[in-house]
């Protein structure tokens, strides 16, 4: 996507010089969705509504981020009400768990978690493209009006620890700075409470060559269990005193040509207040083991499908759609926009489909045309990326319902083991 971003950036600089020429419709901020099947929630009875928005991100001069959802979080030294800082440009991500902050964006001094005397807990967070390396610290958080105390948070790129060991850095590129990461932090509000879970607790995991957690002295790091689940980087919503069973993300619709920004909200809790009722919705149960469900598309069953605000497009395999080339390689470039549909259905821990199957319609336009026709736009509802067409591996058995799925939609995410009036999580409903 950065390729698209870079193209966009070059074009954006040109456009800024001639901004008045960009008079085409749909470019301004868009209010949260008010039509189309999902009525807006009533005014909040408590401060459980967080403002979120799609915008160019923290370093637009180095490449605007596409389809990336951001918000702000207030971070305090544990126990303090004065040593606090509100940090913006934090990406909202339903595909990860826990808060991560890039250290250069953090001005308050947060205490590090220790594994044992003199040994700090450090995490290697794996992404498909690389890793983020940094200490686990604790912070008191204020998010909208909700609060959580002593939350384990990863401080990415933190100082005073050894460099990432080869078992961490061997996964790809380093993402330890704001520019590398594309955000000041990542707010993981997916279906799990912890970012690793039971497999990272025991000392037995210490020999795992792909461990997430390490015990570090000032000079060396060893793979390590976290000792307890509570020590792991934790989805802060699960630590709120109330409204802690899930989140509801509502984003404005985006026209076919795209938009310069998108407004929205993330409401905490499901069926806990007057403004977060479930109502009538389509419920997709997620496999509690891997947080995934089943999509049927073009007659293919795709059991590793995900809902993910952290994905910047729809991602799927369809060899009949023309792919982009050059700087847009990896995205679809159909000669004219396509109207497609797929069927979504929950699955249980055995991967067996459960519940009702729902048909969802979506559009795919040419990524290159979108970017070149409106160079200042960074939100596209019809952007789709290519997964390889091969066999039934998890690379190809997936349909990734990324941020475009959330445009003009209200999407409920209920956490593993938590219950709403509709069902027990993990599930996603829309």
């Amino acid at each position: 996507m950065r390729a698209l971003s870079k193209i966009l950036r070059i074009a954006a600089l040109t456009s800024i010089a001639a901004l008045s020429a960009c008079g085409g419709g749909g470019g301004g901020p868009i209010a949260p969705a008010s039509g189309g099947g999902s009525p807006p929630p009533p005014p909040p009875a408590v401060a459980n509504v967080l403002t979120v928005q799609v915008d160019p991100g923290p370093v637009p001069t180095q490449g605007a981020e596409i389809n990336t959802l951001y918000t702000s979080v207030t971070v305090c030294v544990p126990g303090s009400t004065t040593q606090c800082q509100t940090i913006d440009n934090i990406q909202v991500d339903t595909g990860s768990f826990g808060l991560r902050l890039v250290s250069s964006a953090v001005m308050v001094t947060l205490p590090v978690e220790t594994v044992s005397a003199g040994n700090t807990l450090v995490e290697c967070t794996q992404f498909a493209d690389g890793y983020s390396w940094g200490s686990v610290v604790t912070a008191d958080l204020q998010i909208a009006g909700e609060t959580a105390s002593s939350v384990p948070v990863q401080l990415i790129g933190s100082s005073g620890i050894p460099a990432a060991p080869g078992t961490c850095s061997g996964t790809g590129t380093a993402e330890n700075t704001v520019a590398q990461f594309g955000a000041n932090g990542l707010l993981g509000v997916g279906v799990y409470a912890q970012d690793c879970g039971p497999s990272c607790v025991s000392a037995g995991s210490a020999s795992d060559q792909y461990s997430s957690y390490y015990s570090c002295t000032a000079s060396a790091c060893q793979p390590s269990g976290t000792g307890t689940l509570a020590a792991q980087v934790t989805n802060p919503v699960t630590l709120f005193g109330v409204d802690n069973n899930g989140v509801i993300i509502t984003l404005a619709s985006v026209p076919a040509v795209g938009a310069a920004s998108v407004a929205g909200t993330m409401t905490f809790g499901v069926d806990t207040e007057t403004n977060n009722k479930s109502g009538t919705q389509r419920v997709v149960a997620l496999d509690p083991d891997i947080g995934e469900f089943q999509t049927t598309f073009n007659g293919q069953t795709l059991p590793y499908s995900v809902f993910d605000t952290g994905s910047n497009g729809y991602y799927f395999a369809d060899s009949s759609i023309t792919q982009c080339t050059g700087n847009y390689a990896g995205f679809y470039c159909p000669s004219s926009p396509l109207s497609l549909s797929a069927t979504l259905q929950g699955e249980n821990v055995s991967g067996t489909p459960v519940g009702t199957a729902y048909t969802v319609n979506f559009s795919v336009a040419s990524s290159e045309s979108l970017s070149t026709s409106e160079p200042t736009y960074i939100a596209f509802s019809n952007l789709a990326g290519v997964l390889p067409s091969t066999g039934n591996t998890s690379l190809t058995g997936s349909f990734d319902w990324g941020l475009p799925f959330y445009y003009g939609n209200t999407v409920y995410t209920v956490f593993e083991g938590y219950t709403s009036s509709v069902a027990t999580g993990p599930y996603v409903a829309f």
Partner: protein, 161 residues
């Protein structure tokens, strides 16, 4: 579970975990020597030591070594003249690509720094290397890397997974 190759759904359960640890520890030198573009000889030598952890399958135009890790599966595709021309992986975490890609790892990382993705999807296409990768925390990671000029005749990209 049967319909989902490549994913060890018991990863968090202790007995499987401990079995996996041994394999993982032994596999390090194996993967290091079975690198993209390199000869397969060392893979074959290590296969004896690894016993059930590695399995070779001969096909018409190539051979596949399938390596079971505690966190998933790595498959290495070897041409009939004995060179690794592709690697594919799937599992609960990323494999060590520095070992698997060998000399191609640094160009791969350099390309990522220019075309950084959304953390969830990678598609790097260099003149002599293609890498595709996807994955989610606590979900599944999968991907493949291949040398486009080294793919033997009669092998399609659809075979490389």
């Amino acid at each position: 579970m049967k319909s989902r190759p490549g994913i060890d759904r018991n990863r968090s359960r202790a007995p499987h975990w401990r079995t996996g640890l041994l394999a993982a520890a032994l596999l390090l030198p194996c993967i290091a020597s079975a690198t993209l573009g390199q000869p397969e000889a060392s893979v074959r030598a290590d296969a004896t030591q690894l016993k059930g952890s590695i399995q070779a399958t001969d096909l018409a135009n190539y051979r596949v070594h399938e390596i079971q890790l505690s966190s998933g599966t790595v498959r290495e595709f070897v041409s009939l003249d004995g060179h690794v021309f592709a690697i594919a992986w799937s599992g609960r975490s990323m494999p060590n690509l520095r070992q698997a890609l060998g000399e191609y790892f640094d160009p791969y990382v350099a390309a990522l720094q220019v075309t950084r993705s959304d953390h969830r999807h990678v598609r790097v296409e260099l003149d002599n290397l293609v890498v595709q990768s996807t994955g989610h925390m606590r979900g599944t990671f999968a991907g493949r890397a291949y040398l486009p000029q080294a793919i033997p005749a009669g092998v399609s990209l659809g075979d490389l997974n």
